[in-house]
Subunit: 142 residues, 2 copies
DNA sequence: CATCATATGTAGCCATGGCTACATGTCAAC
DNA sequence: GTTGACATGTAGCCATGGCTACATATGATG
């Protein structure tokens, strides 16, 4: 139905990319928050800001948006906590990120460059693409 | 020097992704403008807007930004023209885009999904990653 | 040459995601 | 208990990239 050939669901391929971008910040933030919990036992906003390369103001305001999306909880001057939903998102984002990095390395991209490129690429990989990547890495690395 | 391990040049890997995103619109626009020139002999703003899945207002304003970047020229009620610089960017963006699509297809991603995912992925692929993709597609497709 | 559909342009709204400058809170060390 | 360093929060700025509603231009058709 409709004059639409692009796969996803709505419309134009560019819409899919824009949708990816609107989820990107949430994914990167919860992944970083989970990392800091592992590394430091807690996630303070200043550390989070440094990790993401933004000012603490930006981090603070973005975290407030994540609260309204139900991904994290905060209380004044306290560390940032993930909700169940946030933890789940962090887990899947991390898994996806690792698939992409490993894949890039397995096709011969130097590790540092794979790390850098994967940070953007990860958000645009549909399940089918991830499946192809995973399959390739596995058969390549025995 | 510095406490920096990430590849590109500045700082944090997230900075690289943000830089990619700030070039993305320009790349997609000039590529689409060049396509419409091929297909229709000229690029009218309304067709461009439809192609990109945005309102004509958004297209118009974005084109104005491209003018100030020296990528296109406009005059009122006339078709949009690419500058030499714009044509060059369109050419490299198109070539890069094709490398990414062909590569995704060659690892087994269905064509429609490869088309959709590549629209975002293309902007995050450094020269090294493109080289690895090109090499892989070539050796795989004989 | 008047009319009208369509294209183009403009005004003004919104959310996001950056920032600096400043204000306030917290906590450890003296 | 004060003090001072550092963390956190707030006010308010900016650019980008979306939009709707409305105004005007253009060009084909009667
Ligand atoms: Mn990322
Ligand atoms: Mn992207
Ligand atoms: Mn493209
Ligand atoms: Mn694109």
């Amino acid at each position: 139905m409709a004059t639409n050939k692009a796969g996803t669901s709505q419309d134009n391929v560019f819409h899919k990319t824009r949708r990816d971008h609107s989820n990107e910040i949430a994914e990167d933030y919860v992944e970083a928050i989970a990392q800091l919990h592992s590394e430091d036992g807690a996630c303070r906003v200043t550390r989070l800001a440094r990790r993401l390369g933004v000012s603490h103001v930006t981090a603070n305001r973005t975290v407030a948006r994540l609260v309204s999306r139900g991904l994290v909880t905060t209380s004044p001057y306290q560390p940032i906590e993930l909700t169940d939903s946030g933890r789940r998102l962090a887990r899947t984002a991390k898994a996806r990120h690792e698939i992409v990095i490993d894949f890039l390395i397995s096709i011969g991209v130097p590790a540092e460059i794979a790390t850098a490129d994967s940070e953007g690429i990860e958000h645009h990989c549909s399940p089918e693409t991830l499946k192809a990547m995973k399959h390739f890495s596995n058969t390549r690395n025995h």
